[in-house]
Amino acid sequence: MSDSLLYFIEVTIGGLLAGVMYSLVALGFVLIFKASGIFNFAQGVMALFAALTLVGLMEKLGVPAWVAIIMTVGVMILLAWLIERMVLQHLVNQDPIILFMATIGLAYVLEGIGDLMWGSDVKVLNVGLPDGAVDWLYDFNIYVTKLELVAAATAALLVAVLAIFFQKTRIGRALRAVADDHQAALSVGISLRTIWVIVWSVSGIVALVAGIMWGSSSGVQFSLSLIALKALPVLILGGFTSIPGAILGGLIIGVGEKWAEIYLGEYIGYAIENWFAYVLALAFLLIRPQGLFGEKIIERV
């Protein structure tokens, strides 16, 4: 194989794997948006908070990684319960924009708590995930880290589990019911509050997975919460209510920005990676505002 082709493959794989990270954050957004119509601005900070808590527990308590992970899952569930109790419950039936503002507040509170409890310095997260290049791919001169492959596999597994959960189980069905019609859901005895706690918990756990992956590859630092911003174009591409959309949107943006950086960089200037996703999102808003998989918005007049 020629060098340029190899290089292309390497860039593409690198883009796909970066995309998986975006997808993971976007997935958390979609879950909450689907079930409650709330655009959760705090999703990125939740990933940061989860990673900080995990590192903190491992450092302060000296427990093994898997124990700390289970404890962090507990913390995220507790957090979901607190959010429902202290924020959502008081804002039932309010406009979406008010709930959105509440999640902005939540983002800062979480960031503050994370800072207070675990400090603001960059931390190394090592939960024992494999690192270094994948040897057999490296033999072909393609550099892919094991961590990236683990992240991709984890994301795939997560999506599969969530898909079964949503389609086949009682609680999944109740989640879809709530997403569809609040009143009808109430009338068959589904408790909105329970559903919200569940959906925020699941979102929190997805955030933890995203936090572990990002943290392992680039350290746990406060800029982690900025990846949430990249999830926004991912959502616009994939549609706000579609789980497959979140995944595919993440991959497209991940690959697209790498391609643009490498192949367009020399003509229109480098650092395209920083703005490519947003321009793509803008184009989508003009051409297909519901996203690739979103429900088409039909307004009856």
Partner: protein, 268 residues
């Protein structure tokens, strides 16, 4: 039509002196009536009479400012909707409230929600007990599907169904809850004659075979007089009359409310 021999039991639900207002609008003023076990109770009245508000109070969507509701001997001022569902109150809606993106089967399965108990950890894993439970409830749901003759649309997303069938799926979902009290808000609105006849038959069958108590709002007077045991008439949030179909039909206030009272006497 042959009259069905049924035993009307004790009082199942009693509403007393219910008053409900929204800002300046008084939707219900001082309404009292009762519903007995196994009976079909109609609530009628012109548009804006407060019929739907009354159902909303009973199943907990609205919380009245005054009055009390007694259901199965338990007195309360207000009820939360999912509490009402737990107590055995199911309902359908005037403007069909189904889960449009979900199949007929899934819609009806949501009605089993409260009767399924496996917790989230089993559900997450979709293992053994959760799966077995799912199968048991599927069986019950299939019986309801047979009963309402909607086998053919099992897998169709309900958003794609014609209105008449959507109404039937909504009834199926309510029946899946195996309620003691079934509230039907205009079950026959927007249906053609044939669909209406089917729906009438289903309502009577539910009442007879499952012994379900039914409270229904309906505008078609022929239907109301045919199938209900007792009728309560509302107008502008007040109770005008209460009694058997014959009693209500002969009531002068009711006739006036429906046909309008000539104003010329006062103006002359």
């Amino acid at each position: 039509m042959t009259q069905i021999e049924r035993v009307i039991g004790d009082t199942l639900l009693k509403v007393e002196n219910i008053s409900l207002g929204f800002g300046g609008v008084q939707a219900l003023s001082n309404i009292s009536f009762d519903i007995k076990e196994h009976e079909i109770r109609a609530i009628i009245g012109p548009n804006g009479a407060g019929k739907t508000s009354m159902l909303n109070v009973i199943n907990g969507f609205y919380h009245p400012q005054e009055g009390a509701i007694t259901f199965k001997g338990e007195v309360r001022r207000t009820m939360r909707p999912h509490e009402a569902a737990k107590q055995g109150i199911a309902r359908t809606f005037q403007n069909v409230a189904l889960f449009k993106g979900m199949s007929t089967l899934d819609n009806i399965m949501t009605g089993r929600n409260l009767r399924m108990s496996r917790n989230i950890f089993w559900q997450m894993l979709y293992l053994g007990p959760a799966r077995r439970e799912e199968m048991e409830h599927r069986h019950r749901v299939e019986e309801i599907i047979d009963f309402l003759e909607i086998q053919a649309i099992r897998r169709v997303p309900v958003g794609k169904l014609p209105y008449g069938l959507q109404k039937r799926v909504e009834l199926a979902r309510a029946l899946a809850m195996e309620p003691e009290l079934l509230l039907l808000d205009e079950p026959m609105a927007g249906m053609n004659v044939e669909e209406k006849e089917d729906m009438c038959r289903f309502i009577l069958d539910v009442n007879e075979q499952f012994g379900t108590t039914i409270a229904l709002i309906e505008h078609d007077m022929g239907v109301v007089m045919d199938i209900s045991d007792r009728v309560v008439v509302l107008d502008y949030g007040r109770k005008l009359a209460d009694g058997t179909p014959d009693e209500v039909r002969g009531n002068q206030d009711v006739i006036d409310a429906y046909l309008g009272v000539p104003h010329d006497e006062g103006e002359a």
